[in-house]
Structures are given as structure tokens and as C-alpha cells.
Subunit: 344 residues, 2 copies
């Protein structure tokens, strides 16, 4: 099963591409320059890893993989005495990394599981054993996620109808692209409609190239064209990932998701979101910690100014999508309605 996922996944989603350790360095695949350059950002300290995440060298599910690999990196650095050997230091180092992006809690929830397990007997264990234990726990979590990606994409692909025009937002990663590939492999004819997703262009840089690499027919549009093609009947379905799911059924995802959810609702086309699990600490949408990014990012494109001095920019990282705009969450327990999340 894992074998088949790895074979299906495009370059940017291969585990070893997202993040890997070589010697004293953790390398993060630079999604900001992809697909024009296939480069890695070299991080020699946990501060550098946190900084790379803050500046969105990788994002979404990439943050989870970096956080998992970072725990191995920290244990490895402790083993070689480059980081002091203590549970406090381990927690401090990994928390700095998971705090780099505060809205999506997937990585923090995964690292908290490892911390909880390490806490049981950290003081009485050798550096070597801690390293082995972290490696085992991380591999176990990675396997769990692979298994979840596999089962969620089975459900995702089953929702796709023959001749669907599928619209997405940003880069919905493993569950989404695997759903598309499985739908296609099962003989369904599909066409993908990808908005470029300004200001960082994850749609143009990550989604569209990955889908084309997977031999899926893909059209790139601006972030303003969805209604045009839903109205023409070419887009029949909207699917996205999510960054956070609260127990009251609110979804947090890349800014623009709310625009598109409202359009889907208006035209009565389904909007499904892939959700590994809700964050049980977030009882209500009021508990969401919302990230605002540097407004200057909106005023440039790949380093070039796009407007004149005196114009202000603004860049909210995420939208909150209310339950009534959501057709269903694709979860390990099947397709759930927003009101069913609180019993998850």
C-alpha cells in the first residue's frame, strides 16, 4: 500500500524531498522557487528550521513532515552533543519549530504525541536509545499518515463523477492529488481547474505542476475566474485540504477558500474538504489562532514591485469557512457533516 502511494505521488510530495537529514544538516525542499528550481534550504539549527517555516519555504502538510524530521534531527544533535540532552531542551527545540506557524496545529499535535511518549522515561534513557525511540515513533506516525492519505483518497476518488471538472485552492497535497489519480485510474475522465493562489502562487507553483506530472489534465486560472467556469458548467465540484478543523465544524484553509466556498454554495456544487482529524482543543471557531502575514508580501511578485508607493498591502494567511458552506469533510471515519465533528 505505502509502496503504491509513493509511486503515485509527485516529486514535491515525496517524503525525502519535503525534508531530509544529511550529516549535521536538515534540508527543506524550497517550494517557493519550485518548479523553476529544484532546491533545498539547508538548516543547521532548530532556529533555522523555524525561520524556514515562518518564511513559508514549505507549507501545509510540508510543515508536518518538517516537524517530524526535526524531531529526529534534534535527537541526532543531542546524540552528538550539539544540543544539550534533556527533555526540556527537546520540548523547547521542537516547540520553536511548531510555533513558527500557529494556525495549523497538525504538526504540534503529532510532536506532542512523541513528547508524551518520551516523557515517560527520558531521564533514565541513553542518548542513543532516545534517538532510536524518536526514529521509531516518527516512522510510526509517518506510516499512520500514509495509511490515512491512502484511505482518505479512496473516499475522495469515490466522490468524483465521470467528467467532473474539479476546482481546488492552494495546494491540497497528498489526499487531494491521490484522489485525483485514483479517480483517473478507475477510468473516470476528469479535468482540474487550479487558481494560481496569490500572493505565493501555490496553485501555479505546486498544484498545477504536480497534477501535470501525474498526467492529469489541468488548467490554471486567476483567483477571480471560478464563478465564470462554474456558471459555464465546466467546474462541477470543489475540493480542498484544510489547515484546521474545529469541533463545531468550522474549517480553516488558505485565504480564498471562503470566496470559493460561497461561489460553490451559490451554484450548488459540492465542496468537500480533506480532514485527517479535528483539533480537539479547538472547541469552537473562536479558539482559532489566526495568523496575519507580512502585508508587504502582497505588494511584490517574485521580488518585483507590483504597485506604487503609498499603496498598503494586506495578507491574511487563512479564511474561516462556516459549516453551512461545507458539503462534507472527508475523514478516516467517512464523509462527515460539520455537525458530526463534535462527536469525532
Amino acid at each position: 500500500m505505502k509502496q503504491s502511494i509513493n509511486e503515485l505521488l509527485p516529486h514535491v510530495l515525496k517524503k525525502e524531498v519535503i525534508a531530509h537529514i544529511e550529516g549535521e544538516t536538515l534540508y527543506i525542499h524550497n517550494r517557493k522557487v519550485y518548479p523553476f528550481r529544484d532546491e533545498y534550504v539547508a538548516c543547521r539549527t532548530t532556529q533555522e528550521i523555524a525561520q524556514a517555516l515562518s518564511s513559508m519555504i514549505t507549507q501545509g502538510g510540508g510543515v508536518l513532515q518538517v516537524a517530524l524530521t526535526s524531531m529526529v534531527f534534534i535527537a541526532h544533535e543531542m546524540r552528538h552533543n550539539r544540543i544539550p540532552f534533556s527533555l526540556e531542551e527537546f520540548i523547547h527545540s521542537i516547540t520553536m519549530i511548531t510555533d513558527a506557524r500557529k494556525t495549523n496545529t497538525t504538526a504540534a499535535r503529532a510532536t506532542n504525541r512523541v513528547i508524551a511518549s518520551l516523557s515517560e522515561d527520558f531521564e533514565s534513557t541513553t542518548k542513543e536509545n532516545i534517538y532510536e525511540k524518536v526514529l521509531t515513533l516518527v516512522t510510526q506516525i509517518e506510516d499512520e499518515f500514509d495509511s490515512l492519505y491512502d484511505s482518505l483518497s479512496d473516499i475522495g476518488s469515490s466522490l468524483i463523477q465521470d467528467n467532473d471538472g474539479i476546482f481546488t485552492t492552494c495546494f491540497a497535497e497528498h489526499t487531494f492529488v491521490l484522489s485525483m489519480k485514483k479517480a483517473q485510474l478507475s477510468g473516470k475522465k476528469i479535468h482540474l481547474w487550479v487558481p494560481e493562489t496569490r500572493p505565493y502562487l501555490q496553485g501555479a507553483h505546486l498544484s498545477a505542476p504536480s497534477l501535470v506530472e501525474m498526467n492529469i489534465e489541468t488548467t490554471l486560472m486567476s483567483d477571480a475566474m471560478a464563478a465564470h467556469y462554474i456558471n459555464e458548467g465546466k467546474i462541477t465540484r470543489y475540493m480542498s485540504a484544510l489547515d484546521l478543523l474545529t469541533l463545531d465544524g468550522y474549517a480553516v484553509n488558505k485565504v480564498g477558500s471562503l470566496n470559493n466556498a460561497i461561489l460553490s454554495n451559490y451554484y450548488n456544487i459540492p465542496y468537500h474538504l480533506f480532514a485527517i482529524s479535528p483539533d480537539k482543543e479547538k472547541k469552537s471557531y473562536k479558539d482559532i489562532v489566526m495568523e496575519e502575514r507580512d502585508p508587504k508580501e502582497m505588494l511584490i511578485f517574485q521580488g518585483m514591485d507590483i504597485t506604487s508607493n503609498g499603496v498598503k498591502g494586506i495578507y491574511p494567511a487563512f479564511d474561516i469557512i462556516p459549516p453551512h458552506l461545507i458539503s462534507g469533510f472527508i475523514t478516516p471515519k467517512g464523509v462527515l457533516q460539520p455537525h458530526e465533528i463534535k462527536e469525532y
Copy 2:
């Protein structure tokens, strides 16, 4: 009155900036490189003028001003024997220019008025008299439009409420920016929210710089962020120009306008469009001639590739906005409902 309009207008909307004749050349202000460069495209033939319009060196109301100036240019060229002197040649030359963009018929309707007047006695008139007649007719039409811009912006500014957050699309030109300035001058506090308007970035290149030049507080956002700020209560009103109004109350405007109209409708904020007049030849939205632009334009940003090979682009120039999404048209006869347009 005209005096005050010219004083209020930003650089890109000054008549002589949009288009002017020097010797044997008609110069068109290059909106594609503004505000970074203040340059003109030199056109020595009517073919070159048509080509400049096709490639959107100017657009929207700029096309009207270029078409008006082109008639003077053609008469001037006839006077100097560089274009054969005949009514057929005059019609042929100006039609090539107005045909360069087919959806917006404002320019063609204005040039048709001049053609109708010239047709009365073209054969019995000297080249010099034809030139003088064209110059007089064009000046008369320009004055009419100035007067319309003035009265429509009086209505537009009267709709604005104190503390409004006003959202727009693309570059709504004279009527819109004058409405904003007049609202501000009357003591209303306003904030402008401008989507960048991909792929050509008229929002970032034209609207935002012009508004800032007019000392109006302006925030630039991506084309995907409107719902975010309407939902937060920061955007309270949507206003745009239109490229075409049909007698059954459908509006044609820059792609993205339909997205934004649906969002405004969902959040119950007003959406008004500035409409000089409907095209009486367009009885129904079915009569709209819809322009599709080169899909490759969607795959680049200020000249740079934004995605990988194999990804298709798409670029519909315009959206059609149905009457039920429209709060009203700001016309010379006041604010009209879509169903009132057929009696215009």
C-alpha cells in the same frame, strides 16, 4: 465643471495622457508598464493603433478616448494624403480600431455617431473641412462624456456612506475615482479595497496608484480576499464600471466581477455599477460578443513564467453579471434597477 474634473483626475485618466497626436503619430499611454514607467506607444498607422488596443496597451475607457483621437488622426492623415480621402476609407480605418476589442461597444457607438454625421455630405466637402468637422464632433463627444462623468460621479459619491469600505474590480476609471474623491471632499471618511486583478494587474497598476495619487487611503489585496474582509465588516460596498449593459439588465465587466457580485449578494452589501448608457443593439445578454484572450497571458506575471510546461492557461476577458446580483446602475437618469434598463 470640466475644469474641476480635469483637476481631480489622476495622471492616467487625463485626456492628453490617454492618447494624443504629435505630427504623424498617435501616442497611446502604456498602461501595462504604469506605474513603473510613464511611457507611450507610438502608432503611425491605424493598423498599429488597432494592434495596440488588441494587446491592451490601454483598456476600458482608454479605448473610447483612443478611438475618438483616432478619428482626428485619420482625418489628419487624409488631409496630408497619407490615407486615401473617402468615406469608405474613413469607416474602414476607424472600424479596424473599434473592432480590436469587440465586447465593449462604447467606442463603436461613439464613432458611429461621427460616421453618421460625416455621411451626410462627405463627398461634397474638402479634406480641410472634414478634418475640422471631425475635430468639432470629437470635442463635442468628449465634452458630453466629461459632463456624464461629472454627473454620474455626483450620484456615485452620494451613495457612499461615512466610514464605507469600498471594494472595486479592475480599473473603474473616471466615474469611480471621481465618486471617491467627491465623497472624500464632502467630508466622508472612506477606505478603498482594491483587488490586484490578475492577469494584467489593473488593480495594482492603475486603480491603487491612481487612488493614492488622489490622497485616498487604499489597500491592495489578492483577487481571493474579498470575502475575508466583507465578512469582517471592513468592506461595506462594491462598485465597478461596466464594459457593456444590455437592455435586459445584464452587465459585462472584467472577469472576477461575477465572483465579487456573488460575494456581495451573499453578504448583502450593495453592488452598484456605473453605466453611461446601455447598448440598444443588445436586447439580451445572448447578443453579447464575448472576447477570449490568449490563454498564455495567464501563465505569466509581469513577463515571467509562473508555472511548469504542460499546464494550460485560460483567460476570459469578461464576466456577465445577471440582474439579480445588481443593486443598481448609476446612470445619467439616476440609479436604475436592471428591469428599468429596457425603457432607457
